[in-house]
Subunit: 146 residues, 2 copies
DNA sequence: CTTGACCTTCTAGTTACTCGAAGGTCCATC
DNA sequence: GATGGACCTTCGAGTAACTAGAAGGTCAAG
């Protein structure tokens, strides 16, 4: 018989903190594991696989909501696979948007970083000037994409 | 005398929600404005400039902590400008790291998106497989040492 | 038997907002 | 002068995805 992993062992095995594992259990991403006589959580191979899957999907930038959807799909193997594909393609678009945003940002920061002669005073700092509004145009809320 | 803007007018002028403006006041990013007889907030041109600056810096991806630092520097114009430059350069590095991460991510999602023949069932879905751990190697998350 | 590493639950904090409820103010119109 | 609707006020709570801490229980080694 396999002994079952403690939460710390599962944490090490998947590169996840123990607190995060408890959190996942609390919000229903991971099923509650068996308990030992001393009330310790005891995980099996299926838990390891599931948690590894979760971490992998999270590392790809998907929100937990999407993780939940993917787990639901994976648990219902008769559904057509197009839904999974759609999720991935949507996420791909999102990532491409983020990259484009950040590249614009980088260009601007790059420009900014060359404005400072390091010996000046803040009063003459071209960076602060550059950040100050010449044309305060109404922008939609910056820095968040739903 | 200039009349002073209501919070809604300032919101419109800077593309910020009124709630966010109140929030900035609460956490000390914006100074409390004058009040009208009816207890409405009344903002002047300096407020407009300061809020526009805040939004601009935020849009460049800096956290509010950095906004605070930049405001403090801008308010003390005799300090050398190098600190400002350092903040920008640090942020530039950060953005470049994020871009690199996202590009790796995009490559993987791209690969993933071509694994699905749309007519299959989830049971055969190569995406789910691809996301599942064949080798549950301990992935280091930021900040753990053995 | 004691020490220290590990585990338990519960609560609260993080970031940067965002929303809702309950009520007050302002101004134009009837 | 009354009324309606747009705007404002405060306060409190909610969001994502964890993270950290307190107070205490369990376990294996020495």
């Amino acid at each position: 018989m396999k002994p079952g992993l403690s939460i710390g062992a599962l944490a090490k095995a998947t590169g996840t903190k123990a607190e995060t594992i408890r959190y996942y259990e609390q919000i229903g991403i991971l099923p509650p594991p068996a308990r030992t006589a001393g009330n310790y959580r005891s995980y099996d191979g299926e838990h390891v696989r599931r948690l590894a899957f979760v971490r992998r999907v999270r590392a790809l930038g998907f929100p937990l909501e999407t993780v939940r959807a993917l787990l639901a799909l994976a648990d219902q193997p008769d559904r057509p696979c197009g839904e999974v594909d759609a999720l991935v393609v949507e996420q791909l678009r999102e990532v491409e948007r983020k990259i484009a945003d950040l590249q614009r940002l980088r260009a601007e920061l790059d420009r900014l970083a060359h404005q400072c002669r390091n010996d000046g005073r803040v009063a003459d700092c071209r960076i602060i000037e550059a950040l100050s509004p010449q044309d305060p145009a109404p922008n939609p809320t910056p820095g968040d994409r739903p």
